[in-house]
Symmetry: D3
Subunit: 253 residues, 6 copies
Amino acid sequence: MSRSNGRNGDELRPMKLTAGVNKYAEGSVFIEVGETKVICTATVEERVPPFMKGQGKGWVTAEYSMLPRATHSRNQREAARGKLTGRTMEIQRLIGRALRSVVNLQALGERTITLDCDVIQADGGTRTTSITGSFVALAIAVNKIATQHKLPVFPITDFLASVSVGVVGEKALLDLNYEEDSKAKVDMNLVMTGSGKYVELQGTGEESPFDRNELDQLLSLGEQGILQMIERQKEVLGPIADKIGAGRTGAGA
Amino acid sequence: MSRSNGRNGDELRPMKLTAGVNKYAEGSVFIEVGETKVICTATVEERVPPFMKGQGKGWVTAEYSMLPRATHSRNQREAARGKLTGRTMEIQRLIGRALRSVVNLQALGERTITLDCDVIQADGGTRTTSITGSFVALAIAVNKIATQHKLPVFPITDFLASVSVGVVGEKALLDLNYEEDSKAKVDMNLVMTGSGKYVELQGTGEESPFDRNELDQLLSLGEQGILQMIERQKEVLGPIADKIGAGRTGAGA
Amino acid sequence: MSRSNGRNGDELRPMKLTAGVNKYAEGSVFIEVGETKVICTATVEERVPPFMKGQGKGWVTAEYSMLPRATHSRNQREAARGKLTGRTMEIQRLIGRALRSVVNLQALGERTITLDCDVIQADGGTRTTSITGSFVALAIAVNKIATQHKLPVFPITDFLASVSVGVVGEKALLDLNYEEDSKAKVDMNLVMTGSGKYVELQGTGEESPFDRNELDQLLSLGEQGILQMIERQKEVLGPIADKIGAGRTGAGA
Amino acid sequence: MSRSNGRNGDELRPMKLTAGVNKYAEGSVFIEVGETKVICTATVEERVPPFMKGQGKGWVTAEYSMLPRATHSRNQREAARGKLTGRTMEIQRLIGRALRSVVNLQALGERTITLDCDVIQADGGTRTTSITGSFVALAIAVNKIATQHKLPVFPITDFLASVSVGVVGEKALLDLNYEEDSKAKVDMNLVMTGSGKYVELQGTGEESPFDRNELDQLLSLGEQGILQMIERQKEVLGPIADKIGAGRTGAGA
Amino acid sequence: MSRSNGRNGDELRPMKLTAGVNKYAEGSVFIEVGETKVICTATVEERVPPFMKGQGKGWVTAEYSMLPRATHSRNQREAARGKLTGRTMEIQRLIGRALRSVVNLQALGERTITLDCDVIQADGGTRTTSITGSFVALAIAVNKIATQHKLPVFPITDFLASVSVGVVGEKALLDLNYEEDSKAKVDMNLVMTGSGKYVELQGTGEESPFDRNELDQLLSLGEQGILQMIERQKEVLGPIADKIGAGRTGAGA
Amino acid sequence: MSRSNGRNGDELRPMKLTAGVNKYAEGSVFIEVGETKVICTATVEERVPPFMKGQGKGWVTAEYSMLPRATHSRNQREAARGKLTGRTMEIQRLIGRALRSVVNLQALGERTITLDCDVIQADGGTRTTSITGSFVALAIAVNKIATQHKLPVFPITDFLASVSVGVVGEKALLDLNYEEDSKAKVDMNLVMTGSGKYVELQGTGEESPFDRNELDQLLSLGEQGILQMIERQKEVLGPIADKIGAGRTGAGA
């Protein structure tokens, strides 16, 4: 099967990371994965949410939103509807959980980092793109904290990126765009660390349940895609990349 | 490691299904899995949501809620808060998606079945228990429709059940209760069909990323647990069980 | 007039009280009055709402909800609508007010007891059934507090139960089921104490105003029904029943 | 006991009804009962709510609100809070139900009358004052409809007014002001027709349950107060008063 | 062009100010401008909003609402809709901002004055009428504070009133009623001080952009109207009027 | 006074318009005015809101939002708060009204154009920048409609841009950035057409009322700024610019 844009089944879309796109945020990146475009900013605040108070630990959380015309037809703003959709809540919980898995919250100290992922244009994979981009914004912000407060341990324990995989027709594909995603019988989002471990794995076969063999194929496709993405994160992070994982003890503890 | 209730690592909690607990609902079941107790009712309505109109197909959806004192300490009602939590939305989307995967919506015709899962008491695994119980309520309701409307094809294409698995300490465990769940480093919910295929697979290693080997162990544990659960569903469904899968063409199409 | 279930006009429906149905709640009861079924739990919290702070007194409040399929056709969840209906608010205010009338808040001390009344199945009289059941859950919870904190005075000053009465056709009936209630020209809810005093009395003749004579008949019917109900409460409460009313000074003061 | 304003226990506060205070509304009245002041307007719309469609009958409903500074200290607006309080819902349901009891909805035809009761200043009895005032605004509006559409039967079947009674100290009092109301052990709102029948009767003894004897006293006090109020309604309604009750068949049917 | 009510183009509608209409509020006025009628109350509270804390300064804010039947057809209550309209928010922000411009917040001390403007009947110019009336209620309330707390400086620095002007047909008109307003091509609201300075100036030519010449005409019309209004404020304020402007230093600073 | 960025008092900030930044929207532009950056998209839908139905005319409306970290410190999302702030509502009403003033709604036909203005980074003047940018997105979208549907008259009647002016210290300044805006005693937003007429004029002197002379200065400053902005709009619009104003009859009628 030839993919709409001439890609091979195991090929990522072109990916571009531009750091420092917001002059106020402690960390920011503009990530483009094919035609999917997301602004990720990291905001540092010197306080933690009520349920974390007094534990000497920090917190990392995320919010996600799409501009109304990020998609083919215009979507009503959630602010106008007066509430978040279930889809948005699910995605922002996922992003926050994924990022926390590679942050040593103890080492971070009592501060909160909020990642805002605003989708400017959507062509499939907005949640995985948000995770991959947010990790870079997070690392930049954490580096600022680590430098300014002379933290003894760098609080990020590993790299982290995310990609979607799926079965379209009978073929397993990496990094689905919108057109492919809407035809997929099986759809899976993977979040992995730089050391190749799973952080999140969400597979759905609403249209067609899948067997162990298909699962194995999808996991392998995803793994190699994520490792490529992490190479791009390293490039844009430069010297910050070298600090990641130095303090890899008690991540998230 | 000995489990709190003397179970082996690969052992399910005692499970009890009581059908017909609601005199109004088209299908109903009271499911008890250990100390987790959920009332599942299936309501049939002769209309579909706006986005499904005119396609000649039916719809299956779910709602989930916990009574305020289902848990150790009392939770505020979502009706009093004025909105659903992200957790609730995530769970009810999951239940609906899972059930739709084994329903031939074409064969169902233009009607909606709503599964209400109300957790009376929670001791871990409320979402998986809701899926396992809902399937039974759904089958009873679908059987009523099939009989009354003389449907040519029975619209349920396969059995469906769900269980949680996780890594506690260094050990993979089946069917975690609340105490185990809160100590788990890796937590995974599996939804599978009677023919052993995956419908949903959601694994999270927020506390500690996991490798391929751990994943394989968890998948095997879950599979055998689900197949046992499906045996119990067959018992309570009696003759209805025999109709399931007869129309296994174009499920969810 | 013969009633649908062969009852006499002055006869209660069969009533069953099952205590201890929830393993977490400080008090719980499952009450069945005919086909109306309600789970009542009492939660004790060692704090009072802001408007009661610093008065050395406790508080008793209630919440009420119906499962979506408690009735013939499915009702939308109030959590999904984003707000409580006027009917729900009216009922939960009534339950709280009624229970407070037999609690010596001073003797209770600075703690809050919340009664949750969740209607599993509705066949008329859900608010009166909630009051009758809640009283039992409350008494069990208060007994736990009294024992644990060695309260000098038992904070419940009297028994309390509730029943509906109404005029259907030309006949005054006790304890209306749904079918009777929907045909009633006059509808009245009574809440009375064990010593036969009125706590709440809400009569409505929207369909047909009623005269003093009809009122007198309804009050007498209700009184004898409530006294029977209180006998059942005593049975299920056992030794706790003997403590009620011992501290009957300054109830609710 | 001498009452704060020199009234006898069975004496109403001074009551003033001014009709026609709003130039747009189909009926309007400004009612003053002592220092309690309410603007009541009746709006006629040539449609009925969805649940009444196609029955050939009309509908009467009410809304109630207090200006923020109607009371000693300022209350937050319900519009600013984003929702109605339970108290407001309870009151507006009561007003609507009470008025419908004296309207022949069949004779009214498929139209809705909405009574808006806006409390300008509150000194006790705002719900009863709203009912008494609304009845006058309703009668004026109905008269306009009856004249304009040449209705064969005048759709109002009887007069209707409302008053509060209560037990303060050991004494039963008529028409409580705020100060008396806040000291009352028993508090009762009565709504009666011109022919002396009960439409609504809501008594509460949260502070102190009451017996049959006290109830009888309160009912007698209230009845004579309401009959006086109806005399004042007749004066302000003039010739419209003579039409009321002419069509007294099937009220509310 | 002869105006509907025989007014000249530069003529105000009859204006009436009645002070002291609310027995609880620290300041109150009932303002009638033609058929537009607004109750304005000023509430004093001895605290400031969170963002003003600890600055030793006071705050003045406003809320605005229309009774549902203030207009030709009935409007849904904002409390029933569950949120304020954009129009209401815009108006109450304008009223608050305008009043603050003539209050020396430092001299007021750490207290908040809330102006509630409730429109009883609307016939054009409700926002300008609210400002003109609120100023009087504010002055009465401030005078009470100044007297009671012996403030060294009277905190109101100047008079303040407001009027609308507009272009209807080709003619500039002062103080538009509803009929004129709905035909106006250009619509402008002016708020000015007693010393003839602009506080707010909001002109809109949605139907037809306007040039500098038309603008100048409108500004002159408005100025003379406002100065007349201020004369009426002085009359109703009596001796309080003489205190205004005495402390005219650092207004709003 | 030398301005922070070396500008003269009557000098605009550097302004850049990039068209076509969104691949789905019918019109889109990225506008940068100094450090203020806004994405404007125009969405065309072949329907009108209910209140416009059946009039044979179109509608133009706008929505406005700021990304949470568009500003120095992070703002809570309005979607998370569950409602729009008054500021947002005021701004989006202004943008819609301003744009409609230069659209011949009759010529547009029964379709709606929604302008979404999403502020990526804010440094003062976000509402004026949104108007100036939206006009370009609107013109591109209208051109698509005019071409595709062969409209006989081009529905845009004139150019439109907007700028802020203000008094800082004693000096009138053009195009204030955030720092200047927060020190301004007088703040005015102007919207003007290409033919130099006023569409909106909103001046506020909350900190210090202003006189006619200051007003005149501000108006002159603003006018020349807007005319420069319109030159830049013409450049980016290219041949579309020539069509604007061709159908200048009955604008907005």
